[in-house]
């Protein structure tokens, strides 16, 4: 293999994990840098938690290697790995106080008492847990428990912090607040965080890079904007962001664009190469890439855009955005979203849904 790169903190090489006939993880390769916030995004059963447990040492891979800081730790027991971990159900020790829970990793490393005290006050301060030191876990709110769990994960300055859906048990408001907080800790401490979630919003908000996982393999690994804007597969396009999906057939290829027929409607869409006339395709376009204009202003739509006539069936007001549900001719539906500021349409209006020909992405079926 290649020589060790100092900026690489964790390296996974051809990791496979088989449970009986099921391949939970199937050939994963990944390098994570020292200062990175990395999200593992996927639906439940995609293998992301198994992968995290392999990194933590709670499972051994069937094949492949796990390297932390250039050292092969594949078969090293978890208690020698110096990895922190935060769980969805917190898993605080119920018989220990907040302070005892937080210093637990330091005690296990036999660190001197004076230094433990110093680190404890640092962690208490960082996580804003002042005054709760003597409480027991069941006397804390969910958000406080998750903070204690984070403090315990961070106090020994681990080589890596693993987070397994840490916010899934918290209510929405607290979750949004914690998303920002957790990202701040990562940026301040410069410890790589690996964050497992099935929530694409969480992954997009917090992470630098995202791996989208399905059936034990990475569908795409990339910067968050890249994963969002340039999905590599139909699954990624469907899982990240909100998309319209149109299934049809390729007609003629013309450079980077392609004529496409969707239930009798002709569109021009981008393609990723490797497409012939007659191939079945799925075209996907994000709600916010579709714009709406009243039918009378059709002339304002540029010629380089796809445009579909329809009737505005409903307007879903979501606060920061507005979704327009449009019934198209032929019984199809398309969703466009925009800012509520330019909400000048009303339900029942005859409209056009339109978008640039190079927007969205098409995938062979």
């Amino acid at each position: 293999m290649s020589t060790h790169d100092d900026t690489v903190s964790l390296s996974l090489q051809d990791i496979c994990k088989q449970f009986g006939p099921v391949k939970a993880v199937d050939g994963v390769n990944l390098d994570i840098r020292q200062d990175e916030f990395f999200a593992l995004l996927g639906p439940s059963g995609s293998g992301k938690t198994t992968l995290l447990r392999i990194i933590a040492g709670l499972e051994h891979p069937t094949s492949g290697r796990v390297m932390v800081g250039g050292q092969d730790v594949t078969y090293m027991p978890p208690y020698h790995r110096r990895i922190g971990m935060v769980f969805q159900n917190f898993l605080l020790f119920p018989h220990k106080t907040v302070a005892e829970n937080i210093v637990f990793p330091l005690r296990m490393q036999n660190i001197a008492k004076a230094q433990r005290g110093e680190r404890l006050s640092w962690a208490i301060h960082l996580l804003r847990l002042e005054g709760l030191e003597a409480r027991y876990p069941h006397e804390l709110s969910g958000g406080q428990q998750q903070r204690v769990s984070l403090a315990r994960g961070l106090i020994s300055r681990p080589a890596l912090l693993l987070l397994d859906e840490p916010l899934a048990n918290l209510d929405r408001e607290l979750r949004a607040e914690m998303e920002i907080e957790i990202r701040r800790y990562q940026k301040e401490l410069k410890i790589p965080f690996i964050y497992v979630t099935h929530n694409q919003e969480e992954a997009l908000t917090m992470s630098d890079r995202i791996a989208v996982m399905r059936n034990g393999v990475f569908e795409q690994v990339g910067h968050r904007t890249e994963v969002y804007q340039k999905p590599a597969t139909a699954f990624v396009a469907g899982f990240v962001g909100q998309s319209n999906q149109m299934e049809g057939k390729a007609d003629t290829v013309n450079g980077s664009l392609l004529a496409f027929t969707w239930k009798g409607t002709k569109l021009v869409v981008p393609h990723a190469g490797d497409v012939k006339a007659g191939d079945p395709l799925r075209f996907m376009i994000k709600h916010e890439d579709v714009q709406v204009e009243v039918a009378s202003k059709k002339s304002a739509i540029p010629a380089s855009h796809n445009h579909l006539p329809g009737k505005l069936r409903d307007i879903i007001f979501k606060g920061q955005t507005v979704n327009y549900l449009i019934d198209l001719e032929g019984g199809m539906e398309i969703v466009a979203s925009g800012s509520p500021r330019d909400m000048k349409l009303s339900v029942g209006d005859l409209v056009f849904a339109f978008w640039p020909q190079e927007a969205g992405a098409s995938f062979r079926l």
Partner: protein, 292 residues
């Protein structure tokens, strides 16, 4: 609050739910116990009880060396048996709870299998293994070896019998505690740097201490009162407090002295429960039924 609503909200359910049990316990436990306490201050003569109140029974009990020996022997034996049961039962209960999978219930029910027969039959069977003409010593004799004297009518043999009789209680108590224990906490301890032994000492043991101490009490108390096992397996040098006690009510007919012995035994049992409960700090046991 109106009187009839107090009745409906509190008194009626209290009477209906706890009434039958209370009556049963009063008749079968409290009344005989009070009678025994009363008898312990009476006097027996020629198999008759006389109600002249005195402390002679207790004077005899604490004055005569034999009774002291029986008591100390029984207490030490019960403590030792509890300790050995605890050490033997933990791995079994742990294995069933952690690795028993779908066979867990079956394995626990198997622990109850010995109860399908009576105590006397089980102890007699054990005698057939440990005794002079028993399986072990007979085999040794046939092979030309000397018999193991330790197995024949000794305190050691009686202790083996006690362990055999009472270990299912210990396993069950620890198992019931462990099935409610979140083994993911062990993973957490390991990730946070605890090796297997430390993880056990820091997490598994303290969080299952209530179950363990219940098991200890469940073994200690019947072992302290044990009569049949020392008689069948222990022989004359292992006479227990319980054996002597049952003699007072049987052969010698000294009911008053027997009653005093019962009272002493009751006090010791109570002391053990008190000591065990002192070791339990509910806040530090993971028991969340308090506070919130």
């Amino acid at each position: 609050m109106k009187p009839d609503s107090t009745w409906r909200a509190f008194i009626t359910p209290f009477v209906l739910l706890t009434g039958p049990g209370t009556i049963f316990i009063s008749i079968t436990l409290l009344l005989p116990l009070l009678t025994i306490v009363m008898f312990s201050f009476w006097r027996t003569e020629s198999y008759e009880l006389y109600a002249d109140w005195n402390l002679d029974n207790y004077r005899v009990l604490f004055g005569e060396a034999a009774y002291r020996t029986f008591l100390i022997r029984s207490v030490v034996s019960a403590a030792l048996t509890s300790l050995i049961c605890l050490v033997l039962a933990w791995p079994v209960a742990y294995y069933i709870a952690r690795h028993g999978g779908r066979y867990r219930l079956l394995l626990v029910l198997l622990l109850a299998a010995p109860f399908f027969t009576g105590v006397i039959l089980r102890i007699a069977a054990l005698q057939g293994i440990l005794g002079p003409g028993g399986l072990i010593n007979m085999t040794l004799g046939l092979a030309g070896f000397a018999p193991i004297k330790l197995l024949m009518y000794t305190q050691f043999a009686a202790t083996i019998g006690h362990i055999y009789l009472y270990i299912p209680f210990m396993v069950t108590a620890i198992y019931l505690s462990l099935v409610n224990f979140d083994f993911a906490l062990l993973d957490t301890a390991k990730i946070n740097g605890a090796g297997p032994f430390r993880a056990f000492a820091e997490v598994t043991w303290p969080l299952n201490w209530i179950g363990t101490s219940i098991g200890t009490v469940l073994v200690f108390i019947p072992c302290l009162a044990s009569t049949i096992t020392p008689r069948f397996l222990g022989g004359p040098n292992a006479t227990s407090f319980g054996m002597s006690l049952s003699q007072q009510f049987g052969e010698t007919g000294t009911w008053a002295l027997g009653s005093a012995m019962s009272v002493v035994m009751f006090i010791f049992s109570f002391l053990v429960i008190a000591i065990m409960s002192l070791t339990i700090d509910l806040r530090r046991s993971g028991f969340t039924g308090v506070g919130k």
